[in-house]
Every structure is written in structure tokens, then in C-alpha cells.
Symmetry: C2
Subunit: 239 residues, 2 copies
């Protein structure tokens, strides 16, 4: 504020106030929940960055705007998690830090080379994330569940990607095999990094084990994520 | 929708429905208003892209998240304008097209080389845009004015940039001269491209002339924008 101009609320200030006002009132979050929210938050921030970068390669202004809007939606989710963590006296940066390396590795290993690869990645990433949120919601305390469900309700920004990919394959069926391979690679990299994360973080592993029942529960979770992915790829003509 | 999963509303579909439902009911927009909303929309889209790119250069996770959130806010504004144009049967892509060249030229001519330059640019750009929205609001028909005021009410995402720049200069006063020069260059490039745009687009020039009174009104508008910019730079320690 330098010129007497009316401004909207300062989100930092809001955050600090929220923190002061509720810090004492809120139950501390378990290590597993902090880890979970940290990996989700960094997932959103990294996805924002990658989608914004991919948007630049769009062949049309409309495609560029759509992928940019999808990136922006990631930041809305990020900010929800940021605020929730702050209310519990946890810095989102601290919560995210352990997950920077595996998530950056995922994105470095899956850099789209074409616009269609960008769209398939946006679609697969968005939907895998939604599947994961849906699975996790049941295991969480009610307050954390609400955050996860709020984020979940706002996913599904990828229909345009779904439509464009399906139309492109219909128009040129030779694209099919290459994109099918790409879809498999995306899933493979995602699972590799997820397993790495689950193995490295005790709190997170505990949360998953207690949520899913036991170690075989984790395996079953990963299987369900894979099955849903395959179904979606089939629906897209990439199965 | 490929797996029976509930999804949020499809924004494209919504847009198409809004267009069908209201096309006949809405007054057609004047050429000048379409131009104005076109240049604002592309301004938001281009700013999104540049801020997302600059966010990558942040020295801290927190800075990266803040600049990314600012980029995301640009897309929210873009979508408001997109929807409003669609309601009047105008494609945002068509409206934006004439302004791609000058706005891309602005950004190509003002690529930040450091994080502090990114912050000064984010701050100056956000605030100049807010000044411009404020000036324009009075000249518009009530419905268009409302869109412009809605966007205006949601600007001011740059306080964090203001704070960080002020703190950095206080900590290291040798930064001052270089950033002051940068601030002047940003304003110079912005004015150059604005004058180019106003001269090229008859509808827009007409809107500005009829809004501001006459050609001397345009000059006075540009003077006011410059004066507010200088006041802000002074407040930042860069005057």
C-alpha cells in the first residue's frame, strides 16, 4: 500500500492471523498427515510449473489458455493446503521439502516432447491425483479429510485434454501407439516415485499402512490406481 | 468422464451454454470495448506465462509459491474476461490476436535477469494494470465496467513483491540504482507498447478519446499513470 489505493486482503497477513487465532485451538497434525499434505502441496506447485511451461508449447491460443487455467487451478489447491498447514502451525515449505527431489525427478523423467504428450500428461496427472485424493480421504481425520475433499471437488480440469487427445487420435490413428507408450511411461514413473516416497517417509508409510490395513493394502491401493489408469487410457483410445 | 467419477462442471460446456443462452439478450460490444477486453485478456495470459517462468528463478520455495500464486490470479482475471466476451458472442482468441505482438514485445524487452528484477516487474506490472483498470472503469458501459471493477478488486497480489524488494534494498543499498533503472525501463517499455497499441487500433483510440475527452486527455492519462508509477517507486526506495 503506497498510494492510498483500496486493496484486497493480504493473503500473508490473513495467514498469519489465521495462525495466531487458531494455533492453540487446533490439534497438532500427525507426522504422516504433514507428510501427506506436504507431498500434495509440492505436487500442486510442481504441476503448476510444468503445466505453465507446457502451455507455452500450445499450437493454439485456446489450448494455451486452457492449460494455463489448469496450472492456475493447481495453485488454488496449493493455497488451500498452505492455509490448512499454517492453521496448525506447520510451514508448508518445511512440509514440502522432503518431496522436492522425487517429484522433480518425476517431471524431469517425463518432459513432454509434443503438445499431445503435454495433454496426455496433464490428463493422466490430474486424474491420478484425483484417484489418490479419493483413496486417501477415507483414512484421514475429519478436518484433513475436508481439505482433501475440497481439493478433489475442484479437480477434473482435464476434460479439454481428454477431448483433444481423443480427437487427435481419431484424426490420425498413427499417433496411437506412441501416445499409448507415453501413457505407460507416465504411470511407471509416477509409481516408481510414489514407492520411493512411501519407503523414505516413515510417517507417510504408517499413515498408508494404518489406512489401508497392512502392507498388502498398499499393494492393493497401487493396483487400484493402475487399473483406473488403464481404464482411462482405454477410454481415450490408448489402452 | 471415463470412469463414472463425479466431476466438476466443464467450463467449456458452461461457456457454450452461457453463449447460447444469452447471445440474443446481450447488446453487441463496441469495437473499442472488444479491443480493450482483448488487450486486457492477452495481458493477463502473457503475465501468467512470464510470472510462472520468473517463479522458477525464486531463491526460496516461499518466493516461488508467491509468484506462482500471482500468476494464477492472472488466469482468474483472464477467465472472467473470456466468459464476458463469450456471453456477447465474441471469441476471446479473436479479441486478443491484435495484441499478441506488442505485449510479447514488451515481455521480450523486459526479461528479468535476477529475482529482484522479477519482483520489481511483478509489482510494477500489477500496479500499472490496476491504475489502468481504475482509469478505464469510468468510461465504460455499466456491464463492462463491472467486469473491470471485479478484476480490479482482485489485483494487489504484489504486496509480497513490494515487501521483499524494500527489504532487499534496505539490506543492500547498492542494489538501489540498478533496480531504479530497471523500474524506469519497465515503465518506458510499457508506455512505448501502449502508444503503439493505441495508435494501431482505431476502436481503442476512439474509446480512449471519447472517454478521456480528447487527444490531450490521452496525454493526461499517460501522465497520471507515470506519476503514480514514480510515487510507487519512491515508496519502494527506487524513486
Amino acid at each position: 500500500m503506497t498510494d492510498g489505493t483500496p486493496r484486497t486482503a493480504n493473503s500473508d497477513q490473513e495467514k498469519a492471523e489465521a495462525q495466531r487465532g487458531t494455533e492453540a485451538a487446533k490439534e497438532p497434525l500427525s507426522k504422516g498427515v504433514v507428510d501427506l499434505l506436504g507431498v500434495l502441496a509440492y505436487g500442486e506447485l510442481a504441476a503448476f510449473d510444468r503445466l505453465a511451461e507446457d502451455a507455452r508449447g500450445a499450437p493454439t491460443l485456446s489450448g494455451r489458455a486452457q492449460l494455463s487455467a489448469m496450472a492456475a487451478a493447481e495453485m488454488a489447491h496449493y493455497q488451500l493446503i498452505d492455509r490448512y498447514l499454517a492453521e496448525h502451525g506447520v510451514s508448508v515449505e518445511d512440509a514440502m521439502r522432503p518431496f522436492i527431489k522425487p517429484l522433480d525427478a518425476f517431471h524431469a523423467g517425463t518432459r513432454p516432447k509434443t503438445w499431445l504428450e503435454s495433454l496426455v500428461k496433464a490428463y493422466v496427472g490430474d486424474q491420478l491425483a484425483a484417484d489418490l485424493y479419493r483413496e486417501l480421504a477415507d483414512w484421514l481425520d475429519p478436518a484433513t479429510r475436508e481439505i482433501v475433499l475440497t481439493v478433489l471437488a475442484d479437480t477434473g480440469h482435464s476434460e479439454f485434454a481428454e477431448r483433444e487427445v481423443a480427437a487427435a487420435i481419431k484424426a490420425d490413428p498413427t499417433l496411437r501407439d506412441r501416445l499409448a507408450l507415453w501413457g505407460r511411461r507416465l504411470l511407471g514413473e509416477a509409481l516408481t516415485q510414489s514407492q520411493y516416497v512411501a519407503a523414505e517417509r516413515d510417517g507417510l508409510a504408517e499413515l498408508i499402512v494404518s489406512g489401508s490395513g497392512d502392507m498388502s493394502g498398499i499393494a492393493a491401493l497401487f493396483r487400484r490406481l493402475q487399473q483406473r489408469h488403464h481404464k482411462r487410457m482405454q477410454a481415450l483410445g490408448l489402452g
